[in-house]
Amino acid sequence: MSHSVPSRPQMDVQVERKFVPKQKDLGADVTWAKINKDVLRSLEKPRPVFWVIFFSALALFSFGVYCEVYQYQNGMGVSDLNNPQVWGLYIATFIFWIGMGHSGTLLSALLHIIHADWRKPIYRYSEAMTTFTLLTAALFVLVHMGRLWQFYYVVAYPNERWTWPNFTSPLVWDATAIGTYLTSSLLFLYMGMIPDLAICRDNARGARRALYRFLSMGWQGTDRQWANFKVAYMTMACFLMPLAVSVHSIVSTDFAVSQNPGWHVTSFPPYFVLGALYSGCSGIITLFIVLRYVFRFEAYMTQPILNKLIKMTFAIAMVWTYLDLIEYATTWYGSDEVAKADLVYRATGDYALQFWGMIFCAMVMPFTLLIRFVRHNYTTLLIISLILNVGMWLERFQIITPTFAKSHYPWTWTAGWWPSWVQWGIVAGSFGWFTMLFMLYCKIFPSVSMYEVKEMVHEQNMEEKAHATQVEVHEAGLLPEMKGGQA
């Protein structure tokens, strides 16, 4: 047995290597020219399955439009809503869509602020998802209104009757918050796209060129433009992040402010925000896998990035689960007997299937993300991410329906209320509307941020270079402190 002591420089090199990620977010073959080529190609010819998805979505949307027209002509009665069940699937799905939007902002704004670079290839489509989910949610506000032709009464607009909306109503807060959020995320999405639109402009012809020229607002990529752009983009991100948190908190006040059993809960705002992030993150995973395949983005949407996304989703899922459990615990140990009866009814009554379905899909299923096979097999992961969102939709369903079915007043207790085909049709149509808009967006606009991926490649190269030099220095034992250590 030799007594040779391992020399210090080698040990230091090992310590340094620990901080180098095993896998880079982007492969070494990704170059600036390749990025342009790949992303611009996504605007030209996607895989044929694109058209399958697009036209299925269009068909679903058309059916939803048919249902809505039918309801508009005949009255809300066709939805089978009734006296205690006044909201049904419309408001449940409204919360679902509003929630879906939040993760896009998390990825594009919060992770931008904290310089988490792995977000760069996937934030653009997430932000687009935010915008389109908000548009979808706004549809439900209109769809559920008895007199949707008078929806503008909810907005403070100048009118000759001198009437204002009622600012104590959470619905007015809702309208204001969602309006602000939609405008700002649309602006944020557009602003982030400007440098890329200029690239598109330089490579497009005909009508498209005119469109991109108009939208890129004369972007030349000068130093001054870049400096202004960075400041403006960061300001917008800082504005958007607290806004996103407040929007879903406000949506939760629709329920928390009322006095119905099961809604009158203090923890509702964080519970809603986390639920929103949760469903949004699994939505991003779904779209990640779909876009990666449809637009051949394999080089940008890589396994290391997906792993980080899954980690984030899992963490958020656990916080949401915790908040859900403490909501039940506070109700269970609380003094409000009606709320407690409502909780028992949820778990054992007419909607027990939906309740336990939610528990299974949204609380148990996230644990499958811990399995390596699930993370690496995209078909399985696609299905799991869809199941998580089914769970979150069921969560919204079981917030609305059982509460109305068994509220304070016994005479209005109804057993087994079920929505009509019109409601289901409109809900299905909303999924069609979202998918259609999203797919159109990805076909017309660059859904991977070219300039930020270039930044990422650049930084990755710099890092590698720096690291290589460092390793060389270490191995040669040239650094003074290393020598000192040896002594």
Binding site: N82, N83, R147, Y153, T163, N166, H408, P410
Partner: protein, 282 residues
């Protein structure tokens, strides 16, 4: 669209009701007493309300779907335990006429996005049909579920010719998509108050009645002005030791029957119910 108007609107919604001395100077505060002991569940009040307020008859199928439009409904409850075991379980049947409680702190008012439902100076919870957009938040937040939504366009077929001739010309026929509820027969009150004002007096007790109170064969429903200390309603409220501005009523002795429904939710309703007295041996 002035700022002062905004502040005024806002304040009217932010007022905490009921407050001390709210109706001290007011000439009217409409209220009701319903004696459950006198109620025989005959539904005459419901029929009278349908006729007076142009309520549509929705038909069996829609009634079964829970889309009925009865502003006042007779709820039937069956007694538990002892009553059900007796030889005549029918003795256990109890009736409760339920209509809008015209709450002082009405849960429906603050949540309406457009202010279509608001509080009138004479203590009524009013609904402005023209302003309603049909968000149904008021109904969602009403613990008594006494708000009724026009799920269908009833003027189309609820009154086929010549039945439209029997509609009450003093009451709006509501179209689809608006919320409606018991108004305490606002049109009668309005006409009566205007007449009294012209004559320089306030309405005498019993001069104006709601349709349900008028039609009740057993006089189970008493309607009147709570501000008028000598009115029958005010005297009953006092005798029953129910205070409009309290959410817990203290009774000086056993056997005082007056109570308000779901008082623990701090809604401060304007309707006092007198508990039923039953003799199971009889």
């Amino acid at each position: 669209m002035s700022l002062s108007n905004l502040i005024q609107n806002w304040n009217s919604f932010r007022t905490r009701r009921p407050y001390e001395g709210q109706y001290d100077d007011a000439p009217y505060k409409w209220a009701m007493v319903i004696d459950l002991d006198a109620c025989i569940g005959c539904n005459a009040c419901t029929v009278a309300c349908y006729a007076e307020n142009n309520l549509p008859v929705v038909g069996k199928e829609r009634f079964g779907k829970g889309q009925a439009m009865h502003w006042i409904r007779i709820e039937r409850y069956w007694g538990e335990g002892e009553a059900m075991q007796s030889e005549f379980p029918d003795h256990g049947a109890q009736y409760l006429p339920m209509l809008c409680q015209q709450c002082e702190a009405a849960p429906c008012e603050p949540v309406c996005p457009v202010g279509a439902t608001h509080h009138s100076p004479d203590g009524l919870n009013t609904q402005v049909y023209n302003r309603c957009v049909g968000s149904r938040y008021c109904s969602a937040n009403c613990p008594y579920k006494v708000r009724y939504f026009n799920w269908w366009n009833y003027p189309d077929r609820a009154w086929p010719n010549p039945l439209e001739l029997q509609l009450n010309p003093d009451v709006t026929v509501r179209s689809k998509g608006v919320m409606e509820k018991c108004t305490f027969c606002m049109q009668r009150l309005r006409a009566g108050m205007d007449k009294a004002k012209t004559e320089g007096r306030i309405l005498a007790d019993g001069e104006v009645l709601t349709a349900c109170a008028q039609a009740c064969p057993t006089s189970a429903i008493t309607f009147g002005n709570l501000s008028d200390k000598k009115s029958k309603v005010a005297r009953t409220w006092k005798n029953q030791q129910v205070d409009l501005s309290k959410n817990v009523q203290e009774k000086s002795e056993e056997g005082i029957r007056g109570y308000r429904i779901l008082e623990d939710l701090n809604t401060y309703p304007s309707i006092v119910y007198l508990e039923r007295v039953r003799n199971l041996e009889a």
